[in-house]
């Protein structure tokens, strides 16, 4: 096996490293640090942050890819991630068709011909399920979870006591509680996943727990990478429009008014279809289906970014108009500081709160947008695991009798928790960072 990073892996990791570098840099600025502490002073924000970090951990785990070179293995030549390796038992072996969560037999009857040559209908047992010892396994899974959670919490407490706790204490208790619950839950699910399909299987017998976990990366990627596209566009155009005014402003305003008057879905659909035609004509560009799906995801991110920068741009322009009237900008002009430096040193730093607020606010919107677009059929590649694709498949399952509820349910729960956490967190960020909320 050799390391084989996909383009989106590199982008996600560099975004992470960039974010961390920015965090380290911000530690020096006392006012900024204080604002962040203030955000985490709310237990709700703390809980949401722990949940978001959990999701992020899965996304990062799923963003280290390897190429299998071993010719003896059945999947030789494919590209798999760390998460795939951990879930190997559910990735490679699949059932024949639907089965409910924790079921031991298939959900539908099949026609079987027995040894005597008599045909009858019966529920066939699942192939990759071992129902014996349910309680022992459960105890074991939860025990490992509790031990792991306690160990990490203990280490964190030691670290805090080592002089890293400053100022008013943060609501660590809520964080620990959430962390412990999540760890125990996932370690139980993980241990049980060796013996059961914990969230059931889909139409072709694929494990839904595995599919839901794989979808995390897709959602997180779209939520985070899209800002990489929107932010530079919105920042450069918004600040230039607000600072230079005159014809520059007219031009940029014209651009974003035009863009935002075209229905978003239409624009995205057109973009995705064009890109799809291009990719179909050049099948030689991609070595594997994983890479192909990855490039398609990247295209989707770019298209989403290019069509959704207008809102932020408008806000940044308005704020720049206000800031450029402030006396400190006049003072800088009186010092003969050139326009670019004024924008970089005086205007952009004073826009950070708007940028941060809109990044966290947009995140949940983008995760949902992916689901909607995949549902419509212009989202990510159909071979890629995503909540949108899961929901799209569940469309027919809801209509059949007896109903198959678990694939919609798992996609819904995973997405709901992520979006709820992101929204609650962004609420708090907005409350703290928006100067209008200072009481």
């Amino acid at each position: 096996m050799s390391l084989h990073l996909l383009l989106t892996d590199i982008l996600l990791w560099s975004l992470m490293i960039g974010g961390m570098a920015w965090g380290v840099y911000m530690r020096k600025a006392k006012a900024g640090l204080e604002a962040w502490r203030d955000i985490f002073r709310s237990p709700v924000a703390m809980v949401s942050a722990v949940i978001l970090l959990f999701y992020l951990a899965f996304a990062l785990l799923d963003s280290v890819h390897f190429k299998v070179n071993d010719p003896h293995r059945s999947d030789s030549g494919s590209v798999i991630s760390l998460l795939d390796m951990a879930m190997q038992h559910r990735r490679t072996f699949s059932e024949r068709t639907y089965s409910a969560p924790f079921a031991t037999q298939e959900y539908t009857r099949s026609v079987v011909v027995d040894k005597k040559g008599v045909t009858h209908q019966s529920f066939l047992p699942l192939k990759h399920v071992s129902p014996e010892g349910f309680w022992q396994k459960s105890m074991w899974g939860m025990g490992v979870g509790i031990a792991l959670a306690l160990l990490l919490i203990f280490l964190h407490r030691r670290w805090l006591r080592g002089g890293h706790e400053r100022g008013e204490p943060l609501p660590w208790r809520s964080a620990y509680m959430t962390f412990a619950i999540l760890t125990v839950l996932f370690s139980w699910l993980y241990v049980m996943s060796f013996s059961f399909h914990v969230l059931g299987t889909d139409k072709v017998g694929g494990d839904l727990f595995y599919a839901s976990l794989k979808s995390i990366r897709t959602g997180m990627l779209i939520g985070t990478l899209t800002t990489l596209v929107t932010l530079p566009l919105a920042l450069v155009l918004g600040v230039s429009a607000g600072y230079f005014r005159g014809w520059v402003d007219d031009l940029i305003q014209y651009l974003y008014t035009t863009l935002s008057s075209i229905p978003g879905v239409l624009l995205i659909a057109a973009g995705v279809l064009t890109m799809q035609v291009m990719m179909d004509q050049h099948p030689d560009w991609f070595a594997t289906t994983v890479e192909r799906a990855d490039i398609r995801l990247l295209f989707l991110v770019v298209i989403l970014g290019v069509t959704s920068w207008t809102g932020l741009c408008r806000m940044l322009r308005a704020e720049t108009l206000r800031i450029s009237q402030m006396d400190y900008v006049t003072a800088a002009k009186a010092f003969g500081v050139n326009s670019w430096q004024i924008m970089w040193r005086h205007i952009v730093p004073n826009l950070t709160h708007i940028i941060l607020i809109s990044i966290v606010l947009d995140f949940s919107g983008l995760v949902l947008a992916e689901a909607v677009l995949s549902y419509v059929g212009v989202g990510v590649d159909p071979t890629m695991y995503s909540w949108g694709n899961m929901i799209n498949q569940a469309r027919l399952e809801m209509a059949r009798d007896p109903m198959v509820w678990w694939s919609l349910f798992s996609a819904f729960i995973f997405m709901f928790v992520l979006v709820l956490a992101a929204n609650l967190f962004s609420d708090r960020v907005q409350h703290v960072l928006d100067p209008r909320n200072v009481s």
Binding site: K30, A31, Y328, F335, G336, V337, P349, N350, T352
Partner: protein
């Protein structure tokens, strides 16, 4: 019953601190009581407590407020709503934000009448118009249908007064009603309040920080400091014989006598001269500007500023005085000639002008808007030095240079590492001065540097500016709307009105023998302390 309103032992607290403690005073019928104090003295909170409109988190712990023997604290919110407007009227500092911009002013006053009084519909309009007439709003019939943005600041304040008087209250609370207005308008509003007080036998609680205004309008004065009443006395007694040191300080600061200017005998060399300066703004019309409107902000002015001297540029709001400052810094396009020393700097491009920027610098009015909240004080001070190449390059020498600057404006050296929001208005203004001084300029334009500050802080800043001028020989162009300030700060004064200079000359001549009628109007409108204040030497 002689007392309209009694405040007894009022104490207001938040969870963390006591804001107002044991405040007692009485408001007699037909009397005006002035509540005086610096910012943070608790005077506005006291007024809000009377209206029962305290901000969230502030609550009364003890004391009583009685309106004709009824305790306001015992009333329910419903009963209190009847008291507000009907028995106690209130006017605010900012008439612009107190009026609803989308409802015409007549309707806004009529609404008050409709809520509180059972008057037939037909009569309401007539009542409003007669109220407008009483507050001397010109053409009251027509003004009824006007919107707030069509009225001037003074007229808006008159509408507010009409609204407060609509239900014939017994008590009027006026919270700094003239602070946001020009002097001439202020004089008119004060005269109006005085007239209403007499004709209606109205009791007025007048909140202000300005001792000169107090001496004009009040019968009785309550001086507050840090939430306590330090002195209360009838107005003439208080002004003649102030007992508390804070009252003395207030009077001393208001008299503006602390700075004695030495008279220059021989003429100093000219550092800045302006000839026929014009700044016209073109309003862009619809689509590529088919129709253009031209506003003449500055319309041909001449100024001369000598080394080590101060030229005061006086004018009311909208007279174009701040635009002059911007033109001198080449921040707006202008026509006319500007000479810095003997070099003509007008007509230069930005690049050619850059070396001259360090010789002319500016101090701003609003200390909260003039410092970038995201920069350390050290970086703020360094910005101009780095951009224009002044001062030492080497890090240690630069640090010493910055420390020296802070020492010069009487601030601790430790401030270099801190951010602007940690400082008070006065300290921020000192940082603004240090920023200008960092470049060792020949001319500093001071654009109303003290009008956003408390009286006591104002006199400290003025003293600092004076000291710096004596030490460095810098010339100031001091832009102000406050004529009372001029004798203590300037050698020469130019009075500006609608973009033109109407009178210019040595301070003594212009202040005591004004030749232009506009200057005389301005001077007459300035509220004055009683003459004997100026006579006393040993306060």
């Amino acid at each position: 019953m002689n007392h309209a309103l009694v405040v007894e032992g009022l104490t207001l607290r938040t969870k963390k601190q006591t804001l107002v403690e044991n405040v007692c005073f009485e408001l007699k019928r037909g009397e005006c009581v002035a509540l005086v104090g610096g910012s943070g003295s608790g005077k506005s909170l006291t007024a809000l407590a009377i209206m029962q409109l305290l901000p969230q988190g502030v609550y009364p712990v003890s004391g009583d407020i009685r309106l004709e023997s009824r305790s306001l604290f015992d009333l329910s919110e419903r009963q209190m709503q009847h008291i507000r407007g009907e028995r106690i009227g209130m006017i605010f500092q900012e008439p612009m934000s107190a009026l609803n911009p989308v409802v015409c002013v007549g309707e806004q006053v009529a609404e008050v009448l409709r809520i509180h009084k059972a008057i037939p519909k037909a009569e309401i309009k007539a009542r409003v118009i007669s109220l407008f007439d009483e507050v001397a709003l010109p053409e009251p019939h027509e003004r009824y249908g006007w919107y707030p943005h069509q009225l001037s600041g003074g007229q808006k304040q008159r509408v507010m007064i009409a609204m407060a008087l609509a239900c014939e209250p017994d008590v009027l609370i006026a919270d700094e009603p003239t602070t946001a207005l020009d002097v001439t308008v202020q004089a008119q509003v004060l005269a109006l309040l005085e007239k209403i007080k007499r004709t209606r036998k109205l009791s007025i609680l007048f909140i202000t920080h300005d001792m000169a205004v107090v001496s004009q309008i009040a019968d009785h004065v309550v001086v507050m400091q840090k939430g306590h009443v330090v002195e209360q006395e009838a107005v003439d007694v208080l002004f003649r014989d102030p007992t508390h040191p804070y009252t003395r300080q207030l009077l001393y600061d208001a008299s503006g006598r602390m700075i004695k200017r030495s008279v220059h005998e021989q003429k100093a060399p000219t550092v800045l001269s302006v000839e026929a300066l014009r700044v016209y703004f073109e309003k862009r019309g619809m689509l590529w500007g088919m129709k253009r409107e031209v506003t003449k902000a500055v319309d041909g002015i001449d100024l001369t500023l000598c080394r080590g001297e101060t030229l005061a540029l006086v004018g009311e709001s909208g007279s174009g005085k701040s635009t002059v400052a911007k033109a001198l810094l080449a921040l707006v396009p202008f026509q006319g000639e500007i000479y810095l020393g003997s070099t003509r700097i007008s007509g230069m491009g930005e690049r050619a002008f850059k070396p001259f920027r360090k010789r002319i610098q500016m101090i701003f009015q609003d200390p909260f808007a003039s410092l970038d909240p995201r920069m350390r004080i050290g970086d703020i001070l360094k910005e101009g030095m780095e951009s224009l190449g002044v001062g030492p390059r080497d890090k240690e020498a630069q640090y010493a240079y910055l420390q020296e600057l802070l020492r010069q404006v009487e601030l601790p050296e430790s401030y270099l590492e801190r951010y602007a929001h940690e400082f008070s208005g006065g300290e921020r203004q000192r940082i603004g001065i240090a920023r200008a001084l960092a470049l060792k300029p020949e001319v500093i334009i001071c654009d109303e540097p003290t009008s956003a500050l408390d009286v006591s802080v104002r006199s400290q800043i003025l003293a600092l500016l004076k000291r710096i001028q004596e030490e460095t020989g810098v010339a100031y162009l001091f832009i102000t709307h406050d004529l009372a300030l001029v004798p203590s700060i300037a050698d020469e004064v130019a009075v500006m009105c609608r973009g033109k200079i109407v009178e210019q000359g040595r301070v003594k001549r212009v202040m005591y023998y004004p030749s232009h009628s506009y200057t005389r109007t301005l001077l007459a409108a300035v509220p004055k302390l009683p003459d004997f204040i100026y006579g006393k030497e040993d306060i």
